[in-house]
């Protein structure tokens, strides 16, 4: 028997607010699967896009500080947000390649940078560390008949050599995970296209245009729902969906789940443990129709 898995958990800012259901379902799912999750005490914001946009040194330093804090907790680092994941991996990549920047960052945080510590997205933990076979065994309520459009967005896979989660242009890790627990997946065109991410604050018009194309593509492919692993993608696809339907005179009614919510359903967790009531597009009619709740 494999030793019990334990991770130092970096939720990121969104999971403490707009994506609280992602946080809740992650904790509940990992608990149900017997995987240990210890939140890193007093973690900081990773800086996300705004920091690297205008101040790379600050962005690298914030992430290096978080890597240092994570190192004090036992286990590899488990990251839920695609953007935090990308920033932490980018920091390790850049500072391994560039000694000048590494020295600057070490001065900024007044400590050596943890370049080799293992940073993993939740998908990686489910697909690789736990393994698809064990995941399939744990799924006592398989998601039979549910057609899922797996949406990767930008930062889970790009750029080459940085996240190393899966192939940059044709990843399958999300499909493999959700098929392992009994769902069907659809082939669609926009699974790697950008949703507009943090333009939701400064230029929502951009997000409405880009996200509409994603919803349209998922609908055309016959998907019942979309699955994501990023709180920004979720915010744009779920929170702004009604507004988009209004602008484009469309009717999507497409529930957008976090991967931990769907996998959680398959291992028998109830709606209240997965925060399904926090979703803006109500998933209950769909789940009842498919006999999954």
């Amino acid at each position: 028997m494999k030793t019990l898995l334990n991770y130092s958990y970096y939720p990121g800012c969104s999971l403490h607010a707009s994506a609280s259901e992602y946080d809740l379902s992650t904790r509940e799912l990992f608990n149900a699967l017997g995987i240990g999750l210890t939140e890193i005490p007093d973690w900081f914001c990773c800086g996300a896009t705004p920091a690297h946009n205008v101040d790379e040194l600050l962005s690298l330093s914030l992430c290096a500080k978080n890597l240092e804090l994570a190192d004090k907790v036992e286990g590899d680092m488990a990251v839920a947000c695609a953007s935090c994941f990308s920033r932490l991996k980018t920091t390790q990549h850049v500072l391994t390649e560039n000694e000048v920047k590494r020295k600057q960052v070490e001065t900024a945080i007044n400590a050596p940078v943890k370049l080799d510590s293992s940073v993993k997205h939740l998908l990686e933990i489910l697909a690789k560390d736990l393994g698809l076979e064990r995941l399939a065994t744990a799924a006592n309520k398989p998601l039979a008949g549910l057609k899922v459009a797996c949406y990767y967005g930008c930062l889970l896979t790009r750029p080459t050599d940085v996240p190393n989660l899966d192939c940059t242009e044709a990843p399958t890790i999300m499909e493999r995970v959700i098929e392992a627990v009994g769902a069907e997946t659809v082939a669609w065109t926009h699974r790697l296209e950008c949703c507009g991410a943090n333009f939701t604050l400064s230029r929502p018009g951009v997000v409405i245009q880009l996200t509409n194309a994603i919803l349209e593509s998922a609908k055309a492919a016959g998907a019942d729902c979309i699955m994501v692993g990023c709180p920004l993608c979720h915010g744009n696809l779920d929170i702004r969906q009604k507004e988009i339907e209004g602008v484009y005179n469309a009717d999507y009614n497409m529930p957008v789940f976090y991967l931990t919510q769907l996998v959680g359903l398959s291992v028998g967790l109830g709606a209240e443990k997965l925060g399904l009531d926090a979703m803006i597009v109500n998933p209950m009619p769909l789940l009842k129709e498919k006999g999954l709740l």
Binding site: A17, D42, V54, R158, L210
Partner: protein, 194 residues
């Protein structure tokens, strides 16, 4: 839009600037051979006056002022598609970061103020609170950008769903974050970092 004529001469070509961009981005601007793959895959190209490959070409020709004056760099979503697909391994997303930083530091002439305001408030929040508080960020953004009614209808819905928190758990080691900001400022003052 009326196009300004571009004059390329020794006087208008500033290659030192390009070297600075290359140092910051740790990649080559000169290696680009204008295949256009970056612009073909760019989700934001439709919002830019100079698509990504033209931004690189303008840099190669030392015409960086044209780039910084426009909004292209502020409309890049950092999706990394360009860097992933470039056949010459030009890290264009990193070049965009470098250009934004240089424009930001110089309080440059870009017309795109909303994105810059959002960035500024985001960084201020990190320095003050250690973490991002979304509700505060959105509220202050609306006030400072004069769009008091922006997304007003979303607010109550998000509050009801528990997606906007009035109160947050605080970091106990906030002084650490201030030290990081201060040390970086000191390094820059001494010329030890860009």
């Amino acid at each position: 839009m009326k196009k300004k004529k571009m004059v390329i001469s020794q006087e208008t070509m500033d290659v030192d600037f390009v070297r600075k961009v290359e140092a910051l981005a740790d990649t080559s601007v000169r290696r680009c051979f204008q295949c256009g793959k970056c612009s073909a895959g760019c989700p934001m190209a439709t919002f830019m006056e100079h698509p990504p490959n033209r931004v690189v070409r303008l840099l190669q020709l030392g015409q960086w002022r044209r780039v910084l004056e426009g909004r292209s760099i502020w409309y890049c979503a950092s999706c990394e598609t360009c860097s992933t697909r470039c056949p010459n391994k030009v890290q264009l997303a990193s070049i965009m970061d470098a250009l934004r930083k240089l424009s930001w530091d110089a309080e440059g002439p870009s017309k795109e103020s909303y994105v810059q305001l959002a960035n500024k408030l985001f960084l201020q929040n990190i320095r003050t609170y250690g973490r991002q508080y979304e509700m505060r960020l959105a509220a202050v953004f609306n006030v400072k950008s004069g769009q008091f009614l922006k997304d007003l209808m979303l607010g109550p819905k998000l509050l009801a769903k528990g997606k906007l928190k009035m109160f947050h758990s605080k970091n106990k080691n906030l002084s650490e974050i201030e030290k990081i900001f201060t040390r970086i400022e000191e390094m820059r003052k001494k010329g030890e970092a860009l």
